[in-house]
């Protein structure tokens, strides 16, 4: 094996058995970069595996929860490497520190990896080109790459990556490979079908729930029926007699029943006799909202942004608006109920199942079991939705504790009711919005927010374009747990701020599109204080969606609402069309313009936007979680109502602002404006301003 250039700045090569080489990012905590691989596989780097038969496997480093990164991340590598997409396979990468942040959250996968994966693909491409050039004794510049072949342009000679792999393994790893000119992109910006599409449509085992291992037991866990209640006593004698039940394990505050089938585990759980005792206050949603109101009437304690002097402007205004908005607690409701497989043995632990944060899960299991994380392997299945629920590691930690106690491989299956009662919810919130108006202008904007947990902090976009702006907030203490829910913070504040802006427009008799554009112009020309957004990009999406929808010429029988929001680096503007069916509004069509930098997979990107819009319609219209004495009242989809086909729009038209900038977030940014756009359309249709989610309860 050839000596290796030590000057490379981000790539590292190390010898491995079998003649392959591998490089990854240099990370100080990595002692050895050697990765064992099948003797004959060639790995130009940690993302690319070339089998002896020439077949090529790309490794997708981040969890796939439906956001499409198992397809879009490998597309970036394939683009730079020059592969034939139809001939590659994609596998999940193992959990390994060299892959950096292996998580799904914050719309960060593409944003965080675009530059890195381009460089990885380009570096490997140069190694193949150099290997071919040496073989033919020609200059590397005289060779091109296409569909996994290096071609000597003038002679027409060709060698495949597979044929070149042994030679390529001895090539120096280029430190600064030349990236493709974006005008030559073949895959980036094109439409690619999800790499698992055929496996999905044919029902192949792909998900955590499909995990099967020899000797595995199925488990169900009886957890506390209400927040504030803890385990007092268990009588498991009847449960142990249930046909198929093999073991009952008591954990700190729950009881697991292990059996030979899911159904037997469920029946065993039903046969447990458990006494729960109230050890804390048993809370009610009605008390949460009453508490919020009290705080907002007094004024929340934490002062955020404070531009100008809203108090004196309020006094001089010709009109003041002062309204309250509220959003309920929500559950995540991902379609695949939580589950997890764990096999905890002496000196060896296998974890496999749904998580958005495999690294965190491994750390948490190591800590809970008091073992080294080096003996833990974490495998990733495809996941039936995430929406932020699996940023918490409770499902995996629980499975590991049960497996350790039972000394058996175990698959813990949650029911829908388990998911509903044991979530980390999107917190309930209440907002007070006040505005001071002259006869034809918005003069001051005052946002006050309170919510369970830390409370909501952040500014809506009138900040930076309005001389008098203030935001106050306060958290609300509760023993009902909260967590991250798709587009956290933005998903509720956009509803409130964008609905209220529509109220302001309606009071001032302004066109909501034109009036927003006025504010972006002000922000561009004479910003006030810090600008948390780029007004030019906001302007671009608003103008594009106005054009797409032919704003200003509403078809007969159609009522329209508009909203726009910036989050996770991207801008989304939407026009929602509502029709009245038997007097009730149905969203019939949605237009959406997005600025997210360069789009990688056009099909996947559109799918994310369309999905986020349906998600937004769903959660603006139907579900809510209500706590009564600490217990969730909506325990399944019969009461936690979700949108069906009959409530979905017939069409969602999506356009992206063309951009050469690096990609920004995509999985979340189209969700925040939806609820406001729907509410504003309902206002246009019915004259009724809906200031409370879900809407369906107020539509009669």
């Amino acid at each position: 094996m050839k000596s290796i250039n030590s000057r490379r700045d981000f790539l590292k090569v190390s010898a491995i058995s079998g003649g392959g080489i591998l490089f990854g990012m240099v990370l100080p905590q990595v002692k050895s970069n050697a990765t064992p691989t099948a003797a004959a596989d060639f790995m130009p780097n940690i993302y690319i595996k070339i089998k002896p038969d020439g077949s090529i496997i790309l490794l997708a480093p981040n969890p796939e929860i439906g956001q499409g990164v198992k397809t879009s991340l490998p597309m970036i590598i394939a683009e730079e490497l020059g592969l034939d997409w139809k001939k590659i396979q994609v596998e999940f990468a193992p959990l390994d520190v060299r892959y950096g942040r292996q998580a799904a959250g914050g719309s960060g996968s593409i944003r965080g990896r675009f530059a890195e994966l381009r460089k990885m693909g380009a570096a490997a491409r140069e190694m193949f080109v150099n290997a071919a050039a040496q073989t033919w004794n020609v200059p590397a510049e005289s060779c091109t790459v296409e569909d996994g072949m290096v071609i000597h342009t003038s002679s027409g000679k060709k060698l495949s990556f597979g044929e070149l792999s042994t030679k390529a393994a001895s090539m120096e790893v280029p430190a600064n490979p030349t990236l493709k000119d974006p005008k030559d992109f073949k895959y980036i910006g094109s439409r690619m079908t999800d790499v698992d599409a055929h496996l999905i449509t044919t029902g192949k085992p792909l998900f955590g729930i499909d995990t099967r291992r020899d000797g595995m037991l199925y488990a169900m866990v009886a957890r506390s029926p209400a927040y504030g209640k803890t385990l007092q006593s268990v009588d498991d004698s009847a449960a142990r007699k249930v046909n198929g039940v093999k073991n009952v394990i008591q954990l700190q505050n729950s009881v697991a029943v292990l059996a030979t089938s899911t159904w037997a585990a469920k029946k065993g759980r039903e046969a447990l006799i458990i006494q729960w005792k109230a050890s804390e206050k048993l809370e009610n949603s009605s008390e949460h909202f009453a508490g919020f109101k009290e705080i907002l009437e007094k004024g929340p304690s934490a002062r955020g942004r404070n531009d100008g002097d809203i108090d004196s402007v309020k006094q001089q205004a010709s009109k003041n608006l002062d309204v309250y908005y509220e959003v309920p607690t929500l559950s995540h409701g991902q379609m695949e109920p939580l589950n997890y497989f764990a096999d905890v043995q002496e000196g060896k632990v296998e974890l496999f199942g749904p998580t958005q944060v495999p690294d965190q899960l491994r750390n948490d299991v190591a800590q809970k079991l008091g073992i080294s994380k080096d003996i833990i392997t974490v495998g990733l299945p495809r996941q039936g939705g995430g929406f932020g629920r699996k940023l918490m590691t409770d499902n995996g930690v629980e499975a590991a504790l049960i497996s350790a106690a039972a000394k058996s491989p175990v698959q813990v299956q949650w029911t829908r009711e388990d998911d509903m009662q044991n979530d980390f919810y999107r917190p309930a919130e209440m907002y007070r919005y006040q505005a001071a108006l002259s006869s034809n202008e918005l003069l001051a904007w005052h946002q006050s927010a309170v919510g369970i947990g830390r409370g909501i902090r952040g500014d809506s976009y009138v900040a930076g374009a309005l001389s008098n702006y203030r935001s106050d907030s306060q958290g609300f203490t509760s023993n009902t747990p909260t967590g991250w829910w798709r587009a956290p913070g933005a998903c509720t504040m956009a509803f409130v701020a964008e609905s209220f802006f529509d109220e302001v427009c309606s009071e001032l008799k302004k066109d909501p599109v034109a009036y927003r554009l006025d504010f972006f112009k002000k922000a561009k020309e004479a910003p006030i204080g810090r600008l948390g957004y780029d007004p030019a990009k906001y302007q671009a999406v608003v103008e594009l969606v106005a054009k797409m929808s032919n704003w200003g010429t509403t078809p007969p029988g159609v009522y329209r609402g508009f909203a726009t929001w910036f989050s996770f680096g991207s801008y989304a503007a939407q026009v929602v069309e509502v029709r009245l069916e038997a007097g009730k509004p149905r969203v019939s069509k949605v237009f959406c313009a997005v600025h997210c930098g360069r789009v990688i997979n056009l099909s996947g990107a559109e799918n994310q936007i369309q999905g986020a819009i349906v998600d937004g319609i769903n959660h603006s219209m139907f579900p809510k979680v209500t706590f009564v004495d600490g217990a969730v009242q909506e325990t399944n989809f019969n009461s936690y109502r979700f949108l069906r086909m009959e409530n979905a729009p017939l069409d969602i038209e999506v356009k992206f602002v063309e951009s050469d900038e690096a990609p920004t977030g995509l999985g979340e940014p189209a969700l925040p404006p939806v609820a406001a756009a729907v509410g504003n359309a309902i206002f246009a249709a019915t004259g009724k301003r809906l200031r409370k989610l879900p809407f369906v309860e107020q539509l009669g």
Partner: protein, 154 residues
Amino acid sequence: MAKYALSINGKTMSVEADADTPLLWVLRDNLNLVGTKFGCGIAQCGACTVHLNGEAIRSCVLPISAVGTGKVLTIEGLSEKGNHPLQKAWEELDVSQCGYCQAGQIMAASALLKSNPKPTDQQIDESITNICRCGTQVRIRKAIHLAAKQSKSN
């Protein structure tokens, strides 16, 4: 426990299960046909949709003792090569996001197309009541129309 001889995807399969075990769990745990998914357990979401004698049913609430000699068709048996017009349309239009509910959606749609080869939007609204949390409904509707068109021209 009792023994049952079931007709699944054209084959007779014998299983031993408690009489009240839902068909869903027999498919998944006894027969390892895991394409049929668990979502709610109360016939609300449709992730567990299979055909019983050609009709779409929710297997999470059908006890195995009630299946009798009925012919069960699951996603694994919908087509021999995974090339049912709906499966092809689903791939062509890149319908899936997380993919979890899609087998159930396809089984619901295939039962619809059997009884109504060219459904209108309103008929799709009425008969496809499965939940998709990712929000792929717009593409599902388009894929059903596409499959209907392609089946007709076949």
